[in-house]
Symmetry: none
Subunit: 213 residues, 4 copies
DNA sequence: TATGAATGAGAATTCATTCAT
DNA sequence: CATGAATGAATTCTCATTCAT
């Protein structure tokens, strides 16, 4: 009578939780498989039952970071908001989560950043996905008459640039009090008002961060 | 007749230059002592004549990054400018150097960042020193009547916060076009005008980054 | 009511058949218990119900190779043929099987050779047994008047030597078209005619392989 | 004053000699780097100073086996003999060496065979080289009027086939007394006399091993 | 001053094997 | 009868570091 293998995922998760605990204590740099295994109270070899390789483990850890964010993005995209509100939600929802995480444990937050830097493919995947979704929203916005005379890719990349402080955790970490919902709204307002096809170039020169009261 | 030991320093330097070259080519992650040694055309063991350990080597590399910046800070501090101008110089001078370095070789710049992350004690030392110098300037400013009713530590940390985009290379790397002299001046103006003891708290909410055209 | 334990043997057999399939696909080198288990659609641990160890499994595989050959040898020995015919049958019967196997799947054949090399004890057992049987036949032949003045051991080993290309699969693999029934008969004829006690040494020089059209 | 690094090759050699000793004692299967290292009285890590990897070590061992044989082949090729004599020398010279080695230590011989099986690329290289040289000789023979109406590749492969028992150590090991100079000469005679373009196909069927008195 | 030689600790990974269920 | 979980020993390989010369 085979035991249910349902726990596999649970164990995987509990391993990752333990690993998080480890990270909380000693940072994310350079821990060895055996260290994690010990922390989990199991043998190295057994860890390999749950993660194909150390690399895979790190990927899973990175994935874990993005799980909730991904769900949120998808939900936002699926919602029926008008384009501008959808875009706001798109950024604000995720901002809220990141902020919460940071406030919960800044050091852990930073450690996840580090993992992200070291396993950038995973991050890159998330970024690409987010870019894709943003493009979808921008397309909707265009259908509603916004961003006239602009090309969609150009628009997406400009928005991405201006919105960095509310997206990019590296920056957020350093500019914490600035990365607020309020400022996000101001930036998006500016974008929706100001971004037209006439003078896209000016923006590279102009104050791309006219973040205001 | 023992030659002056100055050679040692020269060699140390040339090693570090070679290492920089290496980093330029292949990033800063994970190079081994033997790799550096080979690049320098010497034996691993000989490297140990010049650096006590790999750790020490990295520290020296990190220190190297700050050398010029440190000198500049000291010179600025020693100068006879009025407090506000001194503070501007204090930040602008270093900003100029960092900008130059970044423009010279962005990848190398990033690699140094990485080294900095991994050997944060060195960075921390520099930051603490900069904080100290900033405190000195703030004290001078106070003596001149600025920042009335503010405590010095609080003032220093608030200034630090607002001035991040012109200081913190991690942020600079991401917000390159924004981290300009002009914007720096605007920020400092704002600080000198706005920073008074009455409502320090407001700043967390208020536009801490009124960076303008 | 315990079912007859015969099942066990059946399963053992089906495992080995699956293993053979595996070998057909990817050679015999270095497969792991878990690989076999997966191929058999069962757990590693369950394999241990049927084979005490990996070693035992390989032994069984090697044994499998010899099973049919062993039976054949025994039958031939038990038969009532005159010694010379019996000896011919002794070699020709097995040659036929090996040839059939080789022609059926040369790669599998080679893989079994490999297993044989790596688990030579099993092979050795078979060889010793064959030697023993050959000795029996030689004894019968002597009783019939052949090989006069020869010592039985010497005779056996000389015959063995000359008969290698029809016995030793390593050689057969390389000299396939030569290892025919016809040539076998010629060799045996030569042996029965030529092998007398007077000048056993001559054979080292003389035509030990007068294999002819 | 740097110590001479001349010894590197010597050490490499002495390691291989020790390894040979090891092989003599316990066969060639599956020894680990650490086992060799221990036998050599050095640390595993130090072995890596002399061989880039275990694979490289095995390759060197295999290469070692062929060194002398390669030299001999080259010398023979360079010699001024008539084609037929050159071909005889080509095979006989190497046969002599292999025979000597076998007689010196049959078990070691067998172990080298095993290494060869497991690192066939090296062996393959040698075989290809030998094929190439044989082709050169055959070309010379053709220039002298032999093998008329035959294609060179076909001729080479036919010769290779017939000459196996004097070339292929796997076979030699099993047919030791047969793989003599005398028989080699007979085979080559047969080849030079019999191998003509008229009926190349017949040979596959016909007595390719008419090794005679 | 500089070298080559050598090492020991530790890395990831694999695998045969055991055992409670 | 069969499973999944777990392990421990082994393997190859890397690397910072030391030391006699």
């Amino acid at each position: 009578m085979p035991r249910p293998q349902l726990d596999a995922d649970e164990i995987r998760n509990s391993i990752m939780e333990t690993a998080e605990e480890l990270i909380r204590q000693r940072g994310a740099v350079d821990f060895s498989v055996s260290e994690i295994a010990t922390a989990c109270g199991m043998s190295q070899s057994n860890l390999y039952r749950y993660f194909e390789s150390k690399e895979a483990f790190y990927e899973a850890m990175a994935g874990r970071w993005f799980e909730e964010l991904n769900t949120l993005m998808e939900e936002t995209i699926a919602s029926e908001l008008p384009a501008k509100e959808k875009m706001f939600a798109f950024f604000a929802n995720r901002l809220a989560i990141k902020r919460a995480r940071f406030e919960d444990d800044p050091k852990l937050f930073e450690s996840y950043m580090e993992i992200g830097h070291q396993h950038f493919e995973v991050v890159r995947g998330y970024i690409d996905l987010a870019d894709h979704y943003l493009a979808v929203i921008v397309a909707e916005a265009m259908a509603e008459g916004h961003f006239e005379d602009m090309e969609i890719d150009h628009t997406v990349s400009l928005i991405n640039l201006m919105v960095q402080p509310f997206c990019n955790p590296d920056i957020m970490m350093n500019m914490w009090p600035t990365s607020t919902d309020d400022n996000l709204r101001i930036v998006l307002d500016t974008i929706f008002i100001g971004l037209k096809g006439k003078s896209p170039v000016k923006l590279d020169v102009a104050p791309d961060l006219r973040i205001a009261s």
